[in-house]
Symmetry: C2
Subunit: 316 residues, 2 copies
């Protein structure tokens, strides 16, 4: 039985500077900083063994091993694309075996012009190799019944990453050019067969959660890759006659669980780690977890909204 | 007209390590760390000029000027109390002129025994001299009217700190031994004449906000003192016939404002700085500020829930 703070620690596993400045500094200084241009802030960290295995092309990248800094020579997107395709071709990284043909945006410091590249993009499966911030949407769909609040919980399909674990009602990654709201509408149709009109009228944006993870083997591919993430959070209250049905192959089935059932499954690590964090945020916003019943309340609320060490999206 | 991020910056003004590690380290290393015992984590930072003016008693404190560390010799509470009374007597600090006779708890690392002192307390007016985390409660009381949501907004009385600025419907500091919920019930009666039964049945805990401020002259006393704070957040929806009335001398009067009116006043710096942050959190949780209309959405959500560099309360 894990405490809620244990559950947060499982996902937001990257250390904090203030907890141990020396250990943090040693860890971070072992990474290569990834820049969009020389005077910008870094947009990601690249692990030393990733730097070594990546087939950097000298015409596209400056890899400064003394300063442990990586810059693009021309346009960053072209660099990401050509280099990841080459890496995939030579089988350099297991994460690239699940090539998605889906682009994620690398958000850079607001107001700084990129190197001839209005939107910097990277193939989704390659994003953890660069340790850049990725963005998604998660929606909790719930029913206020006579026996209390109940939450629609899907089980992830066996063949998928985190197969067999429970998930948020609807969730997905935000591809380049997609707005968070449009993403949740699309995913709600694909994963739960929710009609577009229902989602547009009933869903409510409620903030974000953010955390910084080390990927483990359940994520697929190499362990230890860095994954700083922001999830746009949505609630959707529905009546008892609204029943989600799987449409694509992501989800096996749905169950309508009481808050107690959800909390028990969280404490038994039966949820995908970041989905458990989304539910803790839901419980806090809905007055289910309180200062009176959760001793780590203050710490948990901060940890669910980590300020990441890289620039975050100003527009999606 | 300030942006919402400007408003956050006004209150959460203490720098972040990741934004500029060198500047942060230089700043923090100029402070004295305050400890509850040698191997604990620091519970606050004391500014060098405060260290110099404070009448430390050698029988109560170890002040190590080489390491810039301050420890209690006996019990921390006795040290705080005796030293602050002496400082007040000799007129060392302006902040102590508003002596409150109210104790705040200094929360230390979970599980670590203090030096013979089960609960460490410090006189409220002296807490910013030690830079320790303080705790409060803030409640937004709102009405869903036919013209949309409206919020009850008090104006702070002229003679008070931040006099003439707008405030959250009900707010106050949590004294030692008081639970957040009990604090909001008490303050709701004192500041808005809300009946206890109404508050107990209608208020909903919705998380916390946290930030790290440098105090300015509007707070009273010396400028530049450090104020890391956690506010327990409550919402209370009421019907149109519930009308708050000032009871004590904190508040001049109340107005029922539309969301637009509140947002305009926030952008014109007419709210007490930390109260504006509480309202931004309210707007985010209620889907009023969204990723679609607030370009700094991701940054703002993180900044409203700062992880402070000191241990925070596990039980109040």
């Amino acid at each position: 039985m894990k405490s809620n703070l244990d559950v947060v620690n499982d996902c937001d596993s990257f250390p904090y500077y203030d907890a141990d400045p020396q250990a943090y500094t040693e860890l971070v200084s072992s990474y290569y900083e990834l820049f969009t241009q020389p005077k910008s802030k870094p947009v990601g960290y690249v692990l030393p063994w990733v730097v070594e295995k990546m087939p950097w092309d000298d015409s596209l990248w400056v890899v400064d091993h003394d300063k442990k800094q990586i810059y693009p020579k021309l346009t960053q997107s072209k660099g990401f694309d050509a280099t990841l395709r080459k890496a995939r071709e030579i089988g350099a990284f297991k994460v690239l075996e699940k090539w998605r043909n889906e682009l994620y945006t690398v958000h850079r410091e607001n107001g700084l012009d990129p190197v001839g590249d209005p939107t910097i993009t990277v193939e989704r499966s390659g994003s953890p190799l660069f340790g850049v911030v990725t963005y998604g949407v998660h929606m909790t769909t719930y029913v206020n019944t006579q026996e209390g609040m109940k939450i629609w919980v899907p089980k992830r399909a066996k063949g998928k990453t985190y197969g067999g674990l429970f998930d948020n009602t609807v969730a997905g990654g935000i591809a380049t050019g997609e707005q968070p709201l449009e993403c949740i509408v699309r995913e709600a149709a694909e994963e739960a067969s929710f009609p577009e009109e229902l989602v547009r009228s009933a869903t409510k944006p409620c903030g974000t959660i953010s955390y910084f993870s080390f990927r483990d083997k359940r994520a697929g591919g190499e362990s230890g890759l860095l994954q700083p993430e922001v999830q746009f959070v949505y609630d959707m209250e529905v009546s008892e006659d609204v029943v989600p049905k799987p449409c694509d192959d992501e989800v096996e089935d749905f169950r309508l669980w009481s808050v107690d059932e959800v909390q028990k499954a969280i404490s038994e690590s039966l949820f995908k780690p970041n989905c458990a964090l989304l539910l803790l945020d839901f419980f806090i916003r809905h007055g289910i977890l309180t200062a009176g019943n959760e001793k780590d309340y203050v710490e948990i609320v901060s940890r669910l909204h980590r300020k990441l060490p890289f620039p975050t999206a100003t527009t999606m």
